[in-house]
Symmetry: C2
Subunit: 216 residues, 2 copies
């Protein structure tokens, strides 16, 4: 029988209510941040535990003390991000002004591409390779949220408050246009020159685009 003084039988990061020390929390956070950097730049297969450990300032075995495997690091990273990923769309308010709501959503997504480009590339890498680890998330939570908001947008169209456009394609277009600035930043930088911020002018352009497209 375990006594109260025994250490938890699980890894310090396991899902149970295992209490973690400050050092453990700090190291887990460092690992996840390093993993975000490496996975987003090289994809899952292209990343190595060694790279992540070095980036986090730890040895390889020490990293594996905190996470069971490379896959466990990746999963922890993804699940930490999934909820934040839904936030901007969740925020779209069915009772607000249609144009304002959609434009605000676009701007929030654009801001996320600027602030969290690594997260965007992490998702892009996953989806590009068939979304094996995101299948459940996309086909349940994300799908439900998209369908819900698509109904709102469709209603706005029927009521003549915005132009009648396919609401799914409208949402996809916002994803495509805003995430492009994070996911394809390398290309934009090579075309416009490294001295420009890739997103310079993007917000004005997208404002023009969606204002025109949505006018009733």
């Amino acid at each position: 029988m375990p006594t109260p003084s025994m250490p938890p039988a699980e890894k310090p990061g396991a899902s149970g209510a295992a209490p973690r020390s400050r050092i453990q929390e700090r190291n887990r956070a460092r690992i996840l941040d390093a993993a975000l950097e490496v996975f987003s730049n090289h994809g899952f297969r292209g990343a190595t535990i060694d790279q992540i450990a070095t980036e986090a300032g730890l040895s390889k075995p020490n990293l594996l003390y905190y996470f069971d495997s490379k896959d466990a690091v990746h999963s922890a990273l993804l699940s930490r991000l999934l909820d934040d990923w839904l936030e901007p769309l969740r925020h779209l308010d069915a009772t607000g002004d249609p144009q304002t709501e959609i434009l605000s959503y676009m701007r929030r997504k654009l801001a996320m591409s600027r602030t969290y480009p690594r997260e965007s590339r992490l998702f892009a890498n996953e989806i590009l390779q068939g979304a094996p680890r995101l299948e459940r998330f996309i086909s349940t939570e994300l799908r439900a949220l998209v369908d819900e908001k698509a109904q709102v947008i469709a209603r706005w169209g029927r009521e003549g408050r915005i132009a009648e456009v396919d609401p799914h394609h409208l949402i996809f277009s916002i994803w495509a246009l805003t995430q492009h600035y994070a996911d394809f930043a390398a290309q934009i930088r090579l075309i416009r020159g490294a001295e420009h911020d890739p997103q310079d002018g993007a917000e004005a352009f997208l404002n023009h685009l969606y204002t025109r497209m949505l006018a009733p």
Copy 2:
């Protein structure tokens, strides 16, 4: 000194004018097609020579008889595609009707996403990881072409024949929107259900979008 009857000193696929037999041509073509399939789905690091060889119906050493290395396969694949990749934009005619030309360019790109999704994902994989192997191509050929066409579009704007929009962002928007249907097809399929063609309705939506945005 080589005599006329000597076989070429290079691999059958080397860049010199080495004559290749029909079998050689057929096997090289098979390998490149298999490599496109595998690289576009798994990225460079995620792909294995074994997978490509199996997909091509060859043994691993036999594949390496035709190409020096995994990298050589990938390079051959990319350089075979680069020129085709520029074609739609090259086709944009400075003497044509502005709206027609831009809409046609968008539709050609959308058609390419439908017809050649693997090529699109191959490029996306490369760019997402910082474009290490495409740096030269993007910063020279592609950049020059984009700048040239951007000037045409800017002139159309100044002449009042279309709305004045940032021409680079306009081109990026066409890339983002059309390639999204190839690169993120997995996500679209999971959200709309596998029974829908991801591109259903896309052309109508994009026609509406660009017609409205470009109206003078």
